[in-house]
């Protein structure tokens, strides 16, 4: 709670927190708030501007943009959270193993990290889609693979640093086993920075997913995704700017919110930036 108070104390942190909460609430409560079903067609009202019936207008099939944007939030945030959580878990596991295991294991893991991160993330994702095929589950799996190395590297570096701290030696002198030292003394001290990294990672995943969907290799229609909405909007841009505005606006709000929140979280958790109590 102390952390949230500190985040709230900075203006950008407050903005980030509000935007993040709005996005998450919108996604969670989408079925309750939405005025229409996301895939409900109204061919009579195609590409209309905002009106009382359609608060943010309609797209080229007459679907309600407000409702689609809300349901798109579920996809965007859901994918981002699933990917980040899985990548986080896998990264910590591999990183800690690399830092404490035998040298051969460490070399193998680091080599795998290097190979994955030597490709630009979008290119790698495209290549993996070509193998696995598009679809929600596949998108989650392949984007996770893209993001494991950065968590793994930080986890490894943190573990190596914590292992050198005097209390680890003190624990060993007390007779603590390696397993005990790892679980009770190393892990709790490395998660902080990694969680911050994870929070900063969420907007990156959101844009990557939107990008893949925009290119047509991500979320398949008719599921509402900001990326596909953006793509459709572009096609009909000359007739109405609203689809692009709504999809782009949602994307901006979400990424900006999570970024500001992540930065504020990092500052709030960094003891060096903390004022003396």
């Amino acid at each position: 709670m102390e952390v949230f108070r500190r985040i709230w104390a900075s203006p950008s942190g407050r903005l980030g927190m509000v935007a993040t909460l709005l996005v998450i609430l919108g996604g969670v409560a989408a079925p309750l708030i939405a005025t229409h079903m996301p895939n409900q067609l109204d061919v009579a009202a195609r590409l209309t501007p905002p009106s009382a019936a359609h608060w943010l207008g309609t797209d080229h099939l007459g679907r309600d943009l407000f409702s689609r944007a809300l349901f798109g939030t579920r996809i965007a945030v859901g994918v981002a959270l699933a990917v980040t959580a899985t990548a986080l878990a896998a990264g910590i596991l591999l990183g800690v193993v690399a830092a404490s295991g035998p040298a051969a294991v460490e070399r193998t893991i680091l080599a795998a990290f290097d190979i994955i991160s030597s490709f630009p993330s979008l290119i790698l994702a495209l290549a993996l889609v070509a193998v696995l095929g598009p679809g929600l589950i596949n998108i989650i799996i392949l984007v996770t693979i893209v993001f494991v190395p950065q968590f793994g590297r930080v986890a490894r570096a943190q573990t190596l640093a914590v292992k050198e701290r005097p209390f680890i030696e003190a624990e060993r002198a007390l007779g603590a086993s390696s397993g005990r030292v790892l679980t009770f003394h190393i892990l709790p001290n490395i998660v902080g920075p990694i969680v911050v990294l994870a929070s900063m990672n969420i907007p990156v995943v959101i844009t990557l997913e939107a990008g893949l969907s925009f290119l047509g290799v991500g979320i398949r229609p008719p599921l509402a995704s900001w990326g596909t909405m953006l793509f459709d909007g572009f096609t009909y841009l000359e007739q109405s700017v609203w689809p692009v505005l709504v999809a782009g606006g949602s994307l901006t709000l979400a990424t900006l919110g999570f970024t500001l929140f992540g930065e504020a979280l990092r500052d709030a958790l960094d003891p060096k930036l903390r004022r003396e109590p």
């Binding site: 209390f167 007779g175 003394h185």
Partner: protein, 315 residues
């Protein structure tokens, strides 16, 4: 080596990767009920030796005996037993406490690690805590929420939880003001009597060592150069290095009466120690023989020294 309550090393060598001979053949024993001082400058290997006594450094060769049992193999069971009987207090008490654990959990850890009976032990822990002047309210705090002095007490309390026979204290007074260092040393002396502990104090503070220890060992570049009854060694050192150390020790001397013996040069690298006597590069009494022939530790039990040309004895 008698099987009584002793922790001892015999011809211990510890060579780190890169060829650093931190400990180069040392024999030392610590008996229950006595306080031994281990003195040396940085690079002397004193901390490496101390850590070997709690099983934190694996000997390259030589033997470690605890209460008559040879622990050289250091199996997992041996190690656990050793770490229950021999506890260490680290130099910086605050950083030796795991930062995300409450004081109570930190104190309970040794009980869990050694599968001791919690119902029987916990009241004893609380008793130690109280005797060290810590309140029960402090048990609910995290290490960074307590003062340095309190952290030091927590570290000491934690070392006593398993009811050890031996305590290794690494620079216990480092960073302490003179007005409180006495308090800590009095506390250690009190605990020693109460728990009949054998205490090894590793320190570069000669005043502390001279005052509170029964026996002392002086280390230089991985070797013991002189050892014996503290009083005798301090009153009449036989090894030139001991003499230089004692002479260099700043004491209150406003009249500038004392002529100081100032050694030239610095301690050589332990990865490439000098031939013969390791001290010959800085020794004011050096002779040709010192450069080729390494002196062995000789002399009566009360004061042994490793020097071809020792200083006059007091007698």
């Amino acid at each position: 080596m008698t099987a009584v309550l002793t922790i001892a090393v015999e011809d211990l060598r510890i060579i780190f990767s890169g060829g650093v001979q931190a400990v180069a053949g040392i024999s030392l024993a610590l008996r229950v009920g006595e306080t031994v001082g281990l003195v040396g400058e940085s690079g002397s290997g004193k901390t490496t030796l101390a850590k070997a006594l709690v099983g934190l450094n694996r000997p390259t060769s030589g033997k470690v005996f605890l209460e008559g049992r040879d622990l050289t193999g250091l199996t997992r069971a041996d190690r656990l037993w050793l770490r229950r009987r021999v506890q260490m207090i680290f130099q910086d008490p605050l950083s030796s406490l795991s930062p995300r654990m409450k004081i109570a959990s930190l104190l309970a850890e040794p009980i869990k690690i050694h599968s001791l009976d919690r119902r029987e032990r916990w009241p004893q822990v609380l008793d130690i805590v109280k005797r060290l002047g810590l309140s029960e309210a402090q048990l609910e705090k995290y290490p960074h929420q307590i003062s340095g002095g309190q952290a030091r007490r927590v570290a000491i309390a934690r070392a006593l939880v398993t009811d050890p026979s031996f305590l290794i204290a690494d620079e216990p007074t480092a960073g302490l003001d003179v007005s409180v260092q006495g308090e800590l040393l009095n506390l250690l002396a009190d605990l020693q009597k109460r728990h009949s502990l054998g205490i090894l104090i590793v320190s570069h503070n000669l005043n502390v060592i001279g005052r509170v220890t029964d026996r002392v060992a002086i280390m230089y570049l991985g070797k013991i150069v002189e050892e014996g009854v503290t009083r005798s060694v301090f009153r009449a050192p036989r090894h030139p290095y001991t003499h230089a150390l004692l002479s260099a020790n700043p004491v209150i001397d406003p009249e500038h009466k004392r002529e100081k013996l100032v050694l030239s040069g610095e301690i050589p690298s332990p990865s490439n120690p000098p031939s013969g006597c390791r001290f010959h590069t800085r020794c004011p009494r050096v002779q040709d023989r010192c450069k080729v022939e390494e002196p062995a530790l000789t002399g009566p039990q009360g004061q042994r020294y490793a020097c071809h040309f020792p200083l006059e004895s007091a007698a």
